[in-house]
Amino acid sequence: MKLRVYRYNPDTDIEPRMQAFEVKSWPGMMLREALLEVRKQDESFAFRHSCGEGVCGSDGMNVNGRNRLACITPVAELKEPIDVRPFPGRPVIRDLVVDMTQFYEQYRNVRPYLVRKDPLPEAEVLQSPADREKLDGLYECILCGCCSTSCPSFWWNPEKFHGPAALLQAYRFLADSRDQATDERLDDLEGPYKLFRCHSIMNCVDVCPKGLNPTRAINKIKDLMLSHAI
């Protein structure tokens, strides 16, 4: 099986290059395993990975032009040679390892936690099963970054536009019956950048390895904002 892997070390290389590797595949092999085989051949090759089952969100990368999680991408589904590159638009630290600082900053900006104004009860804050259901399709995000780094609006304005991952989480807390900061959250999202750079391109929906729909969540935020404005 043939792979072409993006190699770049900003400290020593003048420019990035694609390096070809040949590895032996086996039935059910995932791309992460193929990359581990590559590393056996060249131990200077760097990529992030951890759980190996699509839960930790560490091994997001661009595979044949599409952002994916290597650990849940069967190599049998990919056209050879398999081109493996880092996430587009992110500064490369080395090879497939990119700097995700801006992505996490945007996540932090949406205050991804419950805000309570009422005094906290003795025990937990209860939620009805119906209200809990409203969080389905929102809470499952693993913050792998596949969506935001495939979003053209995030490419152009990563310092100002929150991006699909952070906005999905913004709606996850707006939709939570236990949260009491709806107005503040909506006020924070006003302006042309943070939320409204989204032009419903829907690359996020296309690539999400968990099958989530950030565009729908973003549209729900806009509707909620409108209903609170008029």
Binding site: P192, F196, L226
Partner: protein, 113 residues
Amino acid sequence: MSRRASGLRAWALQRATAVYLAGFALYLVIHALTQPPADYAAWQAWVARPWVNLGLLLLVPALLIHVWVGMRDLLIDYVRVTWARVLLLALLAFGLIASGLWAVQALILARMG
């Protein structure tokens, strides 16, 4: 007064004007296919009809607002140098206002015959 350009208002106006533009465009296409004006006099008579004239007068600001929001989005996305963005936004605004006034003048003149 916020120093930010509008987000929600621009988006809502873009959506609302899109509905009007889509509806009116459909009417224009159907009208052009079924009763195309034979000459200038026929066109003028059609434009002078009160409802058509009102619809066209409303079309002008709807179109201008829609173009403004869409072009503003484009310039915010792609033009990163502040002075260039301000210059292009100013040119766009003047251009749109001029076209709007000119279109309204034409509609009023057609109505007066």
